[in-house]
Amino acid sequence: MQEGRSLTDREINRGLLNSLYQNPKWYWGSVTLLGVIVLGAMAAAGYMINQGLGVTGLNRPVMWGFFITNFVFWIGISHAGVMLSAILRLSKAEWRRPATRAAEVLTVFSLMTAMLMPFIHAGRPWRLFYWVFPYDWARGVFPNVRSALIWDPSAVFTYLTSSILFVYIALLPDLAVIRDRSTGVRRTIYSVLCLGWKGNSRQWKLQIIAGILLSALILPVFVSVHSIVSFDFSMAIAVKSWHSTIFPPYFVIGAVHSGVAAVVIVMALMRWLFHWHDYVRPEHFDALGRLLIVVATGWFFFFVMEFLFGLYGLEGDEISVKDFLTAQAPWSWWFITFVGTTYFIPVGMWLFKSVRRNPWLMVVACVSVNIGMWLERFLIIVPGLAQKQLFNFAWYTYAPSPVEVVIIIGTFALVSMLMLLFAKVFPLIPIYDIKEGEILKQEIKIGRRTVPAVIRED
């Protein structure tokens, strides 16, 4: 688990800060391109708000389509941060070091993007005010606090707040490093941001305690967020295929699966774009690949249980949904694609060490996972609504309109653009964490062999 050469502090500073101080042509070109796509999505959203939801493919009974699918997808991606940062920090996994910051930042940006989706989905975003606040003051009509749809924003905003704190606390030592290398206004800004960090032992102690506390406290929030998102579905008894006791853990493990896969993609891109070959090494992809095999297999077990219990009850409503998914084209093709891309293709690839150690093959497998996980949410939401339900006499299927497609593409561009912009002002790999890893790195001689080792601090 310790490949690559030893690095000095100076080399680490220089290497990891190059994203801030260098201006390659591709950088601004990419930001501009992504910005144009985001503007296009904003224009599409504006058009939809102006014209009404009629320009989307949503219609009775399928009133949740691409937007809610995308909302669940981005909430899922946000689970990468805690999984890789908090859990691996608490379990003291050494290979976490180059992945934590990117995972945490991805969490923040994907949560922000996820929260845009209900705003857009509402059609008239100002109506979201009624979602959480009392409206029509005179009659005292309050939102239904017993609805999972109300618990949702509370959980997501708590997660967003704690994730921002998590990123910020871990950034403090690195901000001081940038401050010490900056001049003028830039220095002033970083001086304010690093809160007077000097790197004395008291500050380090506080930073470590804060990191551990936040890691532990954020875990229940992390689990609650996607559980409550699943409650949006499983609490509804009208849509039979959604009412399943396994939904909370099934959603959480699916989120971890897609989130960790997304981090692998980000790491491979960082490595390639910023030439961080000394920091993001094949061993890290190997470890992530092994983690992903476990997560994916756990997810697959939950998926099998969820599918099996859709049939177990022998109830017409549910069987019709499963029939729709497995026997009626094009849905059956989407279903096969979903299962193949989420589990069989990537896990089949990860079983080979040579694949796990190859960043680009890992990217292929992880893109496959995220295609599958996006489809999973789509196939949970739409067929359940499209099929005939109790008290519902309308049969209708759903096809997204170009407006929805453009907005969805825009969300991917938005997260990518925000990640690139972040990399321009803050290091995407924690400098202090890498330096700490270098200090703790050891070797043990056993006979003629040299075994990598690590210092244990407690």
Binding site: E94, V223, M235, P248, L311, Q442, I444, V451, P452
Partner: protein, 482 residues
């Protein structure tokens, strides 16, 4: 703390390869009066268990009509599956993750694979008690007439023979793990002992010589068998919980039950191993090998499992309770809030409240007694969980009904008789005692054949752990081989 070459031992005493070999192989052959008394006592209790089983079988027989008498027997089977049956997973999992603190507990957890034989024998009578899927025998499945199962209409032999095949696979795989892992120690025991045990060990060691090829093959087999064991274990938990609990209760449709059952098993297995190493450390004379490390590290795992247990339970409860569906309400009334309220409260208290309340504190986690108490608590909790799942399920006579919400209470009854709680009778108590004592007895018999502390893993640990200076302090350095 450190021996001559700078390498340190897993605990704070000096150990050498020679010392480990001598002490651990001596423990196998030495006569221990306390152990003999314990085994005799356990033997008596085990015989009581056999008497309980025989009396139950003779008195009530094995039929649909007598199924309700066998609820505690089924619960005890599931409990043994959760504790001893799942315990080898502890060795498998932490060997995969290459944790050094696993070394003192690996063999103890693998040794529970021997109890799998008892678990397998225990399963056979249950096969005779499971009702047919096609209740009216007309060859096809009809809602409201036939019962619902996860096997639907096929395949041939479902569910009994498929369940049996999975059980056999699990037990054989567990025993194979124990054998592959113990071969190096078997050859040592064979070389240092005499008599029938040494001869048996020599045969079982199958020419182990400790060559590079031997070690490589052992690592490969352990990794492969570990993977199989994990998958088979989850499969068995799934099949047992769905075939012997859920599908016997009309209208119970609970997709999280199987994962929750498996998780309870893993949690109880962690508790079983913790209690076992505590006993080994305190009374077994293995104190020099079992330091604070395994307790401290394992307690964090147990805390995580406990939190997951609470989460899985909440997912089940919340979906049923919030949904207000009459069928689901009647199910949670049966297994949680009315008929088996006491068992549920004890289950919740021992599986979640006590371990969570204890392990939340670092001071408790970083002790020997704290994690042990939490471990004992989750074992008790698992027992009550199995009682509240299997006893009511075996008490349902009308297994082909659409929903238990449709059952009608008799005159003067608040609850339909099929949903009333069943209290254990004397034969049930004997069977429970027999199961517990049988588990302990088989484990102790195992220690008379093999060292309960893995010699080769303990010695390997000495090579991978050192103390080195860093800045002003001295720290432990852990080797991380690929």
């Amino acid at each position: 703390m450190a021996n001559g070459n700078g390498h340190i031992t897993p605990v704070e005493v000096d150990l050498t390869d020679q010392g480990i070999t001598e002490h651990l192989s001596h423990k196998v052959f030495a006569f221990d009066r306390r152990l003999a008394y314990a085994m005799a006592g356990l033997g008596v209790l085990f015989i009581l268990g056999i008497i309980g089983f025989v009396m139950r079988a003779v008195g009530d027989g094995f039929s649909d009509a007598s199924r309700h008498e066998w609820g505690y027997y089924a619960a005890m089977f599931a409990f043994l599956l959760c504790t001893a049956g799942t315990a080898p997973l502890v060795a498998v999992a932490f060997r995969w993750t290459k944790n050094h603190w696993r070394r003192p507990l690996s063999r103890a957890s693998e040794m529970f694979a021997l109890v799998g034989i008892l678990n397998l024998l225990w399963f056979i009578p249950l096969m005779a008690l499971l009702p047919a899927i096609d209740l009216n025998g007309d060859g096809h499945l009809e809602v409201g007439v036939d019962r619902r199962t996860v096997w639907f209409e096929g395949p041939i032999g479902a569910p009994l023979w498929w369940d049996m095949a999975a059980m056999i696979g699990l037990v054989v795989c567990g025993l194979a793990i124990l054998w592959v892992s113990a071969r190096p120690d078997m050859s040592v025991v064979a070389a240092r002992g005499s008599g029938w045990r040494a001869a048996l060990m020599r045969k079982l060691a199958m020419g182990w010589q400790g060559t590079k090829r031997d070690w490589r093959r052992q690592q490969a087999f352990l990794a492969m068998l570990g993977g199989f064991y994990f998958m088979l274990l989850i499969l068995v938990h799934t099949l047992v919980s769905l075939d012997f609990a859920l599908s016997l209760v009309p209208g119970w449709k609970d997709s999280i039950l199987a994962p929750h059952h498996a998780l309870t098993g893993i949690q109880a297995a962690a508790g079983t191993v913790l209690v076992t190493i505590f006993v080994m450390r305190t009374w077994g004379g293995y104190g020099r090998y079992i330091g604070l490390d395994p307790f401290w590290a394992f307690s964090k795992v147990l805390l995580g499992l406990t939190l997951l247990w609470g989460y899985f339970w909440f997912s089940e409860f919340m979906t049923f309770w919030y949904g207000r569906d009459p069928t689901e309400q009647s199910v949670i009334k049966l297994v949680m809030f009315e008929s088996y309220r006491t068992a549920f409260l004890l289950n919740f208290f021992f599986s979640f409240v006590i371990p969570f309340g204890l392990l939340l504190w670092n001071g408790v986690r970083k002790s020997v007694l704290g994690p042990t108490i939490a471990g004992a608590s989750v074992i008790i909790g698992a027992f009550f969980m199995m009682v509240r799942l299997y006893v009511p399920a075996f008490n349902i006579r009308d297994v082909g009904a659409h929903s238990i919400a449709d059952f009608e209470a008799g005159v003067g009854q608040a609850i339909p008789s099929q949903l009333l709680p069943v209290t254990p009778d004397v034969w049930d108590v004997f069977i429970i005692l027999g199961g517990l004592s049988g588990t302990a007895l088989i484990f102790l018999l195992g220690t008379r054949l093999l060292p309960v502390m893995s010699m080769w893993e303990t010695k390997e640990g000495l090579l991978y752990m050192l103390v080195r200076p860093l800045l002003k302090g001295r720290y432990m350095v852990l080797g991380k081989p690929d």
